[in-house]
């Protein structure tokens, strides 16, 4: 088969919405890297100044600019894989480069080669492996996100329909968008991507905003270390994501939807493409969906390796082909989103909850939480527990129940030293604070946050200062570099956790807390605001380890 010419590729994408990323991927997939010639062709084809295009490409760590490029293995050296021997695996593979957490912390180490993710703990073991299906919780709490995910053939259109799929859409289409928004508002569903913003309110704002076409964006960037819930949903229940997006589009008056999928999930991308094709054939996507006057197109856009592109402003800039810095807010995406038009950006988990709520009712959803709390949250649990994986917990479940009863606790003879919350963004919880119930206010009270729901467990054999160092190295590497407090602060904190900085303990601590306070108060987005949770909680729970680190 002849490989496509430059002109073919440009012609394929030039008139599509959000064309830059797919066009760059097309060149990257064809040649294995982005040559200067290709970059010049893309620059001319999409009319993006070449200096800016070049700089933007350097922002994404998976775009190679020379051979062997894409075919060279990339090995996850994230916090959990580091525990599983990632450094040794990295060293044993020819031409391999490290990458941050690739969203598979519930298994052995992931290695990306071309369009495949192989997993294993040593070079011989590496093999493609499907995401584990989330297990039902041992206490029999009712689920929402995972309610039907284990149904036979659920990932196919037929299987999805057999287990009630697309009936929510059908039902909604017989009602009005305001009724759907009222239902979601009434359910008190809130964003599961980290910020917890009420979904009904967000949709209402998009519906109210002027400007067309409106868009929905499914945020499937899942870049937070220790988070792998969206991948499980996307792989095992792709149609639920599409149905959620269609409902969001119907409610908000949007006619197009984008799934922004992280680069590290290539197989998921293929699955989603199949699901979209199936749904289109069944008139679930496209014009006059199911015979109604509602029309909506869905598109997949693959990221290229940048944690910050999960932040909604950065994500929208990335989709638009701009340099992916976060945007100054206000204005918010609900009024000035994709192409400056009203846009609802929602997390995968938020969106898949919607069809269930439509089918089962707002009151049902509200009743899922414990002790008056509302709804459920999927927790990606990994690290030093016996049964890592995705668990859907009712809000209010004690963290300890999850850690010990559900996940089997640490290995025999070990104690849990600390867990990280919100992936890494919530810093550590340890000691008595492990008694906390799992809900945002309770976790915030303890100086942390639940966020997107990644929890990584570190037992007493682990060097906690070194875990903190790796965490800060991640934030420093992923800082977009736009705002001063985060760009400089993450670097200085990392240096101080790596043995740099003052050797006098009090001076070291003042530097850490002064940098941290300035970052939390003045950073331009959540990355810089969250990074100091790591150092704050390290100082709070582990003063002796810190003293030893600084003075040695």
């Amino acid at each position: 088969m002849n490989s496509p010419t430059d002109e073919d590729l440009v012609a394929n994408w030039r008139d599509e919405p959000a064309p830059l990323l797919p066009l760059l991927h097309a060149f990257h997939d064809r040649d294995g890297y982005l040559s200067e010639e290709s970059i010049a062709v893309v620059s001319a084809g999409l009319k993006i100044p070449i200096a800016e295009l070049f700089a933007t490409i350097t922002f994404y760590h998976h775009f190679a600019r020379e051979a062997p490029g894409q075919s060279a293995p990339r090995v996850c050296t994230g916090p959990i894989c580091a525990l599983h021997g990632a450094d040794a695996l990295l060293a044993s593979l020819d031409g391999a480069t490290p990458m941050p957490c690739a969203g598979r912390c519930d298994g052995p180490i992931p290695v990306i080669k071309g369009q495949q993710v192989l997993i294993g703990t040593n070079a011989e073991e590496l093999a493609p492996t499907a995401s584990p299906l989330p297990v039902a919780n041992p206490d029999g709490y009712e689920e929402c996100v995972f309610a039907d995910i284990r149904a036979e053939g659920r990932s196919t259109l037929a299987g999805y329909r057999q287990s009630g799929g697309y009936t929510a859409l059908q039902q909604a289409l017989t009602q009005s968008p305001p009724e759907l928004i009222a239902l979601i508002t009434d359910s008190q569903l809130a964003g599961r991507g980290g910020a917890g913003f009420p979904t009904g309110q967000k949709w209402q704002a998009v519906a109210n905003a002027s400007g067309e076409p409106k868009s929905v964006v499914c945020n499937a960037d899942e870049g937070e270390p220790g988070c792998f819930k969206d991948r499980a949903v996307l792989e095992h229940d792709p149609h639920a994501v599409l149905e959620g997006m269609l409902l969001a589009a119907f409610a908000t008056g949007s006619t197009r939807g984008f799934i922004y999928l992280r680069y590290e999930y290539p197989e998921t991308c293929a699955l989603l493409e199949t699901a979209i094709a199936e749904a289109r054939t069944a008139n679930l996507i496209g014009d006059n969906i199911l015979g109604s006057d509602f029309s909506c197109e869905l598109y997949i856009r693959r990221g290229a390796g940048a944690y910050i592109c999960g932040e909604e402003g950065s994500l929208l800039n990335s989709l638009e082909g701009k340099h992916p810095y976060p945007r100054n807010r206000p204005p918010f995406p609900v009024t000035h989103g994709f192409e400056d038009l009203p846009t609802a950006v929602n997390n995968v988990e938020t969106l898949v909850s919607v069809p269930q709520i439509v089918r089962r009712g707002a009151e049902w959803y509200r009743s899922l939480g414990l002790d008056g709390r509302v709804g459920t949250k999927v927790i990606s649990l990994s690290g030093d527990v016996q049964r890592p994986g995705n668990y859907e917990v009712p809000f209010g479940l004690p963290l300890k129940t999850l850690l010990y009863q559900w996940a089997g606790g640490p290995a025999a003879g070990r104690q849990i030293q600390a867990v990280t919350m919100a992936g890494l963004s919530g810093g550590f919880l340890a000691g008595e604070d492990l008694d906390a119930p799992l809900d945002e206010p309770s976790i915030r009270e303890r100086g942390s946050m639940l966020g997107a729901g990644g929890i990584m467990v570190f037992d007493d054999s682990r060097n906690i200062v070194d875990v903190a160092r790796q965490a800060m190295a991640f934030f420093a590497e992923e800082s977009c570099g736009k705002c001063f407090p985060c760009r400089i602060g993450t670097q200085r904190l990392e240096e101080r956790l790596s043995g740099g900085g003052p050797t006098d303990l009090a001076t070291w601590q003042t530097e850490i807390t002064d940098i941290g306070s300035a970052m939390k108060a003045t950073s331009a987005c959540g990355l810089g605001m969250a990074a100091p949770f790591i150092t704050d909680s390290l100082l709070k729970y582990f003063p002796e380890q810190v003293a030893q680190h600084v003075q040695s």
């Binding site: 070449i50 206000p330 570099g481 331009a524």
Partner: protein
């Protein structure tokens, strides 16, 4: 004050003040002489929100907000100075100093080059805290004659990138990489002369640290006389950009665009910015000259020279007719002289062969 006549109010440091729709908190505060520190701000550019020095307290907001990017809304209660905000500003400046090779730089580097130094003095931020790696790296191989790319001093404010894109429309430079490794670059990280750069010098003049520096002006760095500024108009073309001539003693050493120049608002082109060497060049004529019988040019007085010219015109006209005369007026002359030249050619010789060299 308000273009649409509608006035809104907010409370600024305890005082009720008016503003018009679209104004930012920074703009309002500046009108009230609040002296909010900034590093990434240039009033000509879209606010960027990078340095975060301009943060102010806004009642009801969880964190201070960047005043340069925050649009005012009626009823806001804003405090431009408070103990925590001043502490953040100082910490941020200490952090900036820690990434930068030096803060005190020669003002010859550029118009805005003293900004960082002045702010670090105001906040007494050269404390030596937060030591660590340096961020920017000098682009040592770019040996163009105009711009010194001394990124050792770069603080990643993106003003150069933004002025190039927004003011010049050249998009010659951009910021590559992420985080602390971010660097200002050109296409494929090459040389300015191989990029779409026109050497207008705008990036140099907006750089708040002197990381982009005027190489020609820096030739005079060692001259002992004090630096003086004289307002003038660029002599090159009909746009008439205002400039501040930089001199040391009797020597013209550089040019700054006048930020308040009515025609240019701080912009210049490569000629107005960098091509001033002719002024004090040894080859520059200071007396009229006529060619003698020996074929060489000789200095003479104006009457002799003008007679020779008139004579030459008369002879040519007689021999070849009126269309053998073609006048090109100099773009460096004032309008009155251009008008006279046009009259001279049209009326004097009856030809319309008259042009002007300002075709930039």
């Amino acid at each position: 004050m308000s273009s649409n006549g509608i006035q809104h109010q907010l409370i600024l440091d305890g005082e009720e003040v008016n503003f018009s729709a679209g104004e930012t908190l920074y703009e309002i505060a500046e009108r009230h002489r609040k002296e909010i520190p900034t590093l990434c701000y240039d009033p000509r550019l879209e606010p960027f929100g990078a340095c975060r020095l301009c943060v102010v307290e806004l009642e009801g907001a969880r964190n201070p907000v960047a005043s340069c990017t925050t649009k005012a809304t009626a009823g806001m209660v804003v405090k431009t100075q408070s103990e925590p905000v001043e502490k953040y500003r100082k910490t941020l400046l200490e952090m900036v100093v820690s990434e930068n090779r030096e803060v005190e730089v020669d003002p010859l580097r550029g118009y805005a080059s003293q900004e960082l130094g002045k702010l670090t003095d105001r906040y007494q931020a050269r404390t030596g805290r937060f030591k660590g790696a340096q961020s920017g790296q000098l682009h040592a191989t770019d040996d163009n004659p105009f711009i010194f790319r001394d990124y050792d001093l770069c603080i990643s404010c993106n003003r150069c990138v933004r002025v190039c894109a927004e003011q010049e429309g050249d998009h010659a430079i951009a910021a590559m990489g992420r985080g602390f490794h971010k660097q200002i670059t050109t296409e494929f990280n090459g040389l300015l002369k191989d990029s779409s750069c026109t050497f207008c010098g705008q990036c140099v003049q907006t750089c708040p640290t002197g990381a982009l520096a005027d190489k020609k002006a820096l030739r005079a760095a060692e001259l002992p006389e004090p630096l003086q500024k004289t307002r003038s108009v660029c002599p090159y073309c009909g746009v008439g950009c205002s400039v501040d001539l930089l001199s040391k003693g009797e020597k013209l050493v550089g040019i700054h665009p006048a930020m308040d120049g009515p025609a240019n608002e701080g912009a210049l082109c490569v000629k107005g910015q960098f091509a001033f060497d002719f002024v004090q060049h040894t080859d520059r004529l200071s007396m009229p000259m006529v060619r003698g019988d020996d074929g060489e040019l000789h200095e003479t007085d104006w009457d002799t020279a003008l007679d020779r010219a008139a004579d030459g015109f008369a002879k040519t006209l007689k021999k070849h007719g009126r269309h053998s005369i073609y006048g090109i007026a100099s773009g460096r002359t004032p309008s009155e002289a251009n008008y006279t030249m046009q009259q001279f050619i049209r009326r004097g010789y009856g030809t319309h062969y008259i042009d002007n060299c300002s075709r930039a």
